[in-house]
Amino acid sequence: MGMIGQHLLNGLMQGTIYGLVAMGFTIFFGVMNVIKFSHGDVLTLGAFGGLVAVWAANALGLSVPLQFIVALCVAMALTAVVGAGISHFLIMPLRNAPPLNMLLMTMMVGTAIREAIRLFFPNGTNPQRFPELLPAGGFNIGPSFFRTDAIILIIAGAASIGAVYWIINHSKFGLAMRAVAEDTETARVMGINFGRIIPLTFALGSITAGFAGMIYALYYSEINYSMGLLLAVIGFTAAIVGGLGNIWGAIIGGYLFAGLQTFVVAAMPSMSDYKNVFAFVLIIVLITWRPTGLLAERGSERV
């Protein structure tokens, strides 16, 4: 087990991505009691937007750091607009429908986004190479290889989690958001602009998807149209295991899932076929043990 440090780093990186995705799920749920399954595909859209931005910036002859900034801004702006648009045109009109209808609706929205990328992005079904914008290389500590870009990305991911936490808990917008989440009617009476807070919340949640998409693209240097689907399943799982509506729960869930997957491969490489079986069995056991998540959501039942 000389590679334990390496596995730890791998798990940390994956967990950061999963946690960011799960955080989006939990934000949507906390405010609107909605599982927005298209979240993963919005992430994919952000990554593809970033890719186009890099191509454009490259064609304009911008330097690499500038390309990076342009790509990040485009990815986040694109996901914000799409997220707000989905909430305004599709989720709001259905907000009184049964939760399952909403789940199906957002899954279909995700499918539509995914298929649109596949069909209308040039050569969209094939994986796309994402240029390396961060310093390559790294250093060895013992047998473990620490990639510079991975360390930067983990720090960036942690920072963005902190930023979202701050926005929700310490900004005026966050206060309004929590008020709507707690009691929509009262919040309205208190003069909070409901019609504006909801799309803004979805924009915020979707920006985290755009950010996660960029982290993903930079870390793996490869993106494809279907990457969001699996991330949505994992993000949803992480958010639920952690406890819906609780940001720290989502983060813990994300790292937990990543840790599980890494552990099975590291400890039993011959069983790597079965790693998702193990992971999901454990998830079922965990959810049986804590039926409302590891960090139970506030207010006993929401569903």
Binding site: F29, I35, L90, P93, L94, N96, A97, P98, P99, L100, N101, L103, L104, M105, M107, M108, V109, T111, A112, E115, A116, L119, V233, F236, T237, I240, V241, L244, D273, Y274, N276, V277, F280, V281, I283, I284, I287, T288, P291, T292, G293, E301, R302, V303
Partner: protein
């Protein structure tokens, strides 16, 4: 108006005839028509007819007539079904699709009991159907067991596998329950892929059904007519669907249905009334899984081949979407919904790679325009129930 002679309160029966005849014609047309423009026209006419019927009270009249003349309804449906089979008698593909629709519809009736009546969430229906299918395949390899028993075993094994999930299903609700079953569905698939004992990703072949010496793979020769061998499957699945419909209907109208409602709507109230919530949930879960396993076994036997790719999480989603599109909790809704969801992608072959996106947009449109599904759940009329 042709008032029935026995009681004054009775409504006319002719809407029933019209409705059944219309459904039969629409169904046949939908299965037969391959031409895109004709298909579009047929769909438009069907939609317009349904809209008008709903707008001018035809649907309500049909419902009254149906509830007053249950045996007439059953008889009409039987006659109409036989007529449809007769028209499609040598269209192998049409019959295969029809049988597939009926299989999906029956599985979704099980889901209706679970999700619509008892309020459980099940995102692993395809996994339970797959359990039935794999049971049929494994038992078929051993040989010896008559097929009627093999099919029932498919259902029983699905119930058994489902019982492993009982504890998490009982303890969780809503989205948390969705996750448990979803995790199970994904796990089922990964396990079959990784495992060589059950044929691995390449799947297993299995022979067709032979029920009491009647070989389903042979064409039927009757009155000088040759009927496609798939007629066998359509009749079998048709009978199973009808039985499931009647059973689920009886369940809904009996006290069991009322208990299910209470359990679904308010667990606290249910426990105050001394209901054993767990008991009713387990019952619903068992009924649904049995239907899924049974029909999964029929499906496997009919297609003659099963592979893990047939029973993915995506297929479970398809089944849930049938229940939701049909109108959750309404057993009649699953029939048109299954027809649309199973048949439409097949009819959309002409747009080739654009099928999936079109389908997604269509479902979004239906959900936005009819948030309660095609046929909405009926509010229970307790007085009528009590006197029935």
């Amino acid at each position: 108006m042709t008032p029935s002679s026995r009681t004054l309160a009775r409504g006319p029966v002719w809407p029933l005839f019209v409705a059944v005849a219309f459904a039969a014609v629409a169904l046949t047309a939908l299965v037969l028509i391959e031409n895109q423009k004709l298909l579009g026209a047929a769909l438009a006419i069907t939609a317009a007819f349904c809209f008008c019927a709903a707008r001018f009270g035809g649907v309500a009249a049909t419902e009254v007539a149906a509830s007053e003349n249950p045996w007439l309804l059953r008889g009409l449906i039987t006659v109409a079904s036989l007529a449809v089979i007769f028209v499609l008698r040598d269209d192998n593909f049409g019959l295969l699709m029809l049988a597939t629709v009926l299989i999906y519809a029956t599985i979704c009736l099980g889901l209706t009991v679970q999700m619509g009546y008892a309020g459980l969430t099940n995102f692993a229906a395809a996994a339970f159907a797959g359990t039935g299918g794999y049971t049929a395949a494994m038992l078929g390899q051993q040989g010896g067991l008559p097929d009627a028993l093999v099919l029932v075993c498919g259902g029983l094994v699905a119930v058994f596998i489902g019982s492993l999930l009982i504890l998490p299903v009982l303890r969780t609700r809503g989205h948390y329950g969705a996750l448990t079953t979803m995790a199970f569905g994904v796990m089922f698939n990964v396990f079959l892929d990784a495992n060589d004992f059950f044929g691995g990703p390449q799947g297993l072949k299995l022979p067709g059904i032979n029920l009491f010496g009647w070989d389903f793979t042979n064409d039927i020769h009757i009155f000088g007519l040759v009927l496609s061998s798939y007629v066998n499957y359509v009749i079998l699945t048709g009978i199973l669907t009808a039985l499931a419909m009647i059973f689920v209907g009886l369940l809904d109208r009996s006290w069991v249905g009322v208990w299910f409602d209470v359990v679904r709507l308010d667990e606290t109230a249910a426990s105050v009334f001394g209901l054993k919530i767990a008991y009713w949930k387990v019952l619903a879960f068992t009924i649904g899984n049995f239907l899924a396993g049974l029909m999964g076994a029929v499906y496997a036997k009919m297609t003659g081949f099963i592979a893990p790719a047939n029973f993915t999480f995506g297929d479970s989603l398809v089944m849930v979407s049938i229940v939701i599109l049909g109108g959750i909790g309404n057993r009649w809704g699953v029939l048109p919904a299954a027809l649309i969801v199973v048949l439409l992608p097949e009819k959309l072959q002409f747009i080739q790679e654009y099928r999936l996106i079109f389908y997604a947009v269509l479902v979004i449109a239906i959900l936005t325009m009819r948030p309660d599904g095609l046929v909405a759940r009926r509010v229970r009329k307790l007085r009528a129930e009590a006197s029935a």
